[in-house]
């Protein structure tokens, strides 16, 4: 998989002899930035063109539709709150996929890991007695959600490390298995009669932004967003400041070289996929702790797959992932905002176009930039 490598690397220039190896530049080099930012820009331009065509085919004016899209997302507090809510889940799934990519692994299972994390958190919520302060419950919920997603992530991790089973296929197949299992548990065992959701948590629900700022009233945004930012920071720390993270990135860049240097490649593999699953599982808290306070079938359908897009556009870097999550959340909330003029399904097409364009232009842009630089050097 040649792209996995290129996805997971932000190439750095060879070290100049004068800088001591410990001193890291504050800002990435211009070359790195160009290679990171140009493909998403190309993709957005292409998406805008395709969007125009779709809007025109529906007999509407593109400028009116795009104006409405911005108005309904960043233009008012409710819309912005919904963007934040959707972005929160996408940050978690984006980090999950991004961590995998850094290790050269493709986790397509975020979809079911997210659901599993939400389900285990909701189950714990039913067991906990009422009246415990939210701050005391939070660690328990964090562990429950991370365990739920982590176990689902560990399966492909162990199968890959132990038997070499391709993680892409295993995670895809496992999505169906886990979702069917959760469907069974919810619809046959734990649902509230006449609904498709479990009983509400008795304690530990997190406050919504609407509770603190009146303008956000009615939107689903909640303080889980702080957990998402914390997770992004923690992942950045793990990847770039710890030995384990260094090993993980080394395996992603050159598994053979990493193994020769004494890294336990199998260990990195199952650890990466387990942590990846745990991160996706934590995303379930956004709905279960922050929004509805119960587990419901399909509470975040598609968020796992969009996590792949988020990690890709965010170039598997925590900062990029947060920004890309905002972009994709804006698109999906924007679809609802423009539904009166054009079918909201237009947004599904645009999201697909962004992924296609980014993934096809990353290698191409890098090649072009490098040949331009080479000829400039000459």
């Amino acid at each position: 998989m040649s792209m996995e490598r290129s996805l997971s690397t932000l190439p750095t220039d060879p070290p100049t002899p004068r800088t001591p190896p410990s001193a890291r530049p504050l800002l990435p080099s211009r070359a790195t930035l160009e290679e990171a930012i140009l493909p998403p820009l190309v993709a957005l331009m292409l998406a805008a063109v395709v969007g125009d065509l779709l809007i025109l085919s529906f007999g509407q004016s593109p400028s009116a539709v795009f104006h409405l899209l911005l108005e309904g997302t960043w233009g008012n507090a409710y819309g912005f709150g919904q963007v934040l809510y959707k972005a929160t889940t996408l940050v978690f799934t984006g980090l999950a996929v991004g961590l995998g990519l850094r290790a050269g692994l493709f986790n397509i299972g975020a979809e079911s890991q997210l659901a599993a994390g939400g389900f285990t958190a909701a189950m714990v919520g039913i067991l906990l007695p009422a009246g415990i302060p939210a701050l005391l419950c939070l660690p328990i919920y964090l562990i429950a959600a991370a365990l739920g997603g982590g176990v689902v992530g560990a399966v492909p991790g162990v199968l890959k490390a132990r038997f070499g089973a391709h993680e892409v296929i295993v995670t895809i197949m496992l999505n169906f298995v886990v979702l069917a299992l959760l469907n069974y548990l919810t619809s046959e065992k734990f649902h509230v009669p006449d609904t498709l959701h479990t009983a509400e948590l008795k304690s530990g629900a997190l406050p919504r932004l609407g509770d603190m700022f009146a303008a956000y009233h009615g939107s689903a945004a909640n303080v889980t967003i702080l957990l998402a930012l914390l997770a992004a920071f923690a992942l950045g720390w793990y990847l770039f400041r710890t030995r384990r993270g260094f090993e993980l990135r080394a395996v992603g860049l050159q598994p053979g070289a990493a193994e020769y240097a004494g890294v336990d490649v199998g260990g990195v593999t199952w650890r990466a996929l387990t942590i990846s699953g745990a991160l996706a599982g934590l995303g379930g808290l956004n709905f279960v702790l922050g929004y509805k306070h119960y587990y419901e079938e399909g509470f975040a359908t598609g968020a796992g797959f969009l996590g792949i897009a988020v990690a890709l556009v965010g170039r598997s870097h925590p900062v990029g992932i947060v920004l890309a999550a905002l972009l994709f959340a804006t698109l999906s909330q924007g679809g609802l905002a423009v539904n009166a003029l054009v079918p909201k399904q237009m947004v599904d097409v645009l999201q697909a176009v962004v992924i296609l364009a980014v993934s096809t232009s990353v290698p191409e842009v890098r090649r072009l930039l490098r040949s331009v630089r080479r000829s400039a050097d000459r």
Partner: protein, 294 residues
């Protein structure tokens, strides 16, 4: 339950799997991951409904489905081969694109967010679900014959030899003058056409297109491809096995014997077990998922 009814229902469920898995075998043997089968099927189903509705003839729908499946396949192939994009990422994007486009054009053409109007199919209404009704449908014949044809193509023709070569060792194939890219484009196009036919079968059998009607069948076909170890004969058996399990589940509905969700898991669990190599390891084509540098 009568055995004939069981077998007829199994065959009826197996046809789209056979068509799509034949596409999966072609694509994966040539080195391109068959994640996109679901998207081809959905696109094919939609094009079949539109073509059949517009022309009033199911054959036009079949041709439209083949064209639609091939168009999505060429988009996949161009991204993965010409632009060397990651196959998994592009594959997922193609599936999202198929979902988005079918939904958008469902609204545009039929002003509905759930289904198309009734379209002409091959079977006459009221002819039942037995073998007689099945045999009226030419797509059933194609579905039954497709795997033997693919086996012949792969193992008995120069083109098939090239497909296997570019999937196992593209460098070696290129060194003896085979155009790796050309063979891969052809194999992927064929895979899109076949999976598109599978989608056409679904839409014409139900006489309409409904949103998301493939419901993961493309992934079951992918599972059959892998569980069948990338061999047409074994993949065909896998399709029949998965279809028989599904038939059993439908027949058992209402009884509390086994929850339906557990029967749904069977294809996926079997595939994971096969990949883990607990019983006879499934080893993919060596160059699967890799695009050699030009």
């Amino acid at each position: 339950m009568s055995l004939t009814a069981f077998l007829a229902q199994t065959l009826r469920i197996a046809i789209p799997y056979l068509l799509a898995a034949a596409g999966g075998v072609m694509s994966e043997r040539a080195g391109l991951i068959g994640l996109t089968l679901e998207g081809y099927m959905l696109g094919g189903a939609f094009c079949a409904a539109v073509g059949s509705y517009a022309a009033g003839a199911p054959w036009v729908g079949v041709v439209a489905a083949v064209v639609g499946g091939a168009a999505l396949a060429m988009l996949y192939a161009t991204s993965a081969i010409r632009f060397r994009a990651d196959q998994v990422v592009v594959g997922i994007a193609i599936n999202l694109l198929a979902i988005g486009l079918t939904r958008f054009f469902l609204r545009l053409f039929f002003d509905s967010s759930s289904n198309s109007p009734r379209v002409p199919g091959f079977t006459v209404r009221g002819s039942g679900t037995g073998f007689i009704a099945l045999l009226q449908n030419p797509l059933v014949w194609i579905g039954v014959l497709v795997m033997p044809l693919i086996a012949w193509l792969l193992y008995r023709t120069p083109f098939g030899l090239r497909v296997r070569a570019v999937g196992e060792h593209p460098g070696a194939a290129a060194s003896v003058g085979v155009s790796v890219a050309k063979v891969r484009y052809l194999a992927v196009a064929l895979s899109g056409m076949l999976a598109g036919l599978g989608g056409a079968y679904l839409a014409l059998d139900q006489h309409q297109f409904t949103d998301g009607m493939t419901a993961g069948r493309g992934f079951i076909a992918l599972a059959a491809t892998i569980f069948g170890r990338w061999d047409p004969k074994r993949a065909a058996l896998a399709c029949l096995l998965f279809a028989a399990a599904e038939t059993l589940q439908i027949r058992l509905q209402g009884s509390d014997a086994i929850p339906s969700q557990f029967v749904e898991m069977i294809p996926y669990v079997l595939t994971i077990v096969a990949l883990a190599g607990v019983v006879g390891r499934a080893i993919p084509p060596a160059a699967l998922g890799r695009t050699p540098s030009a």
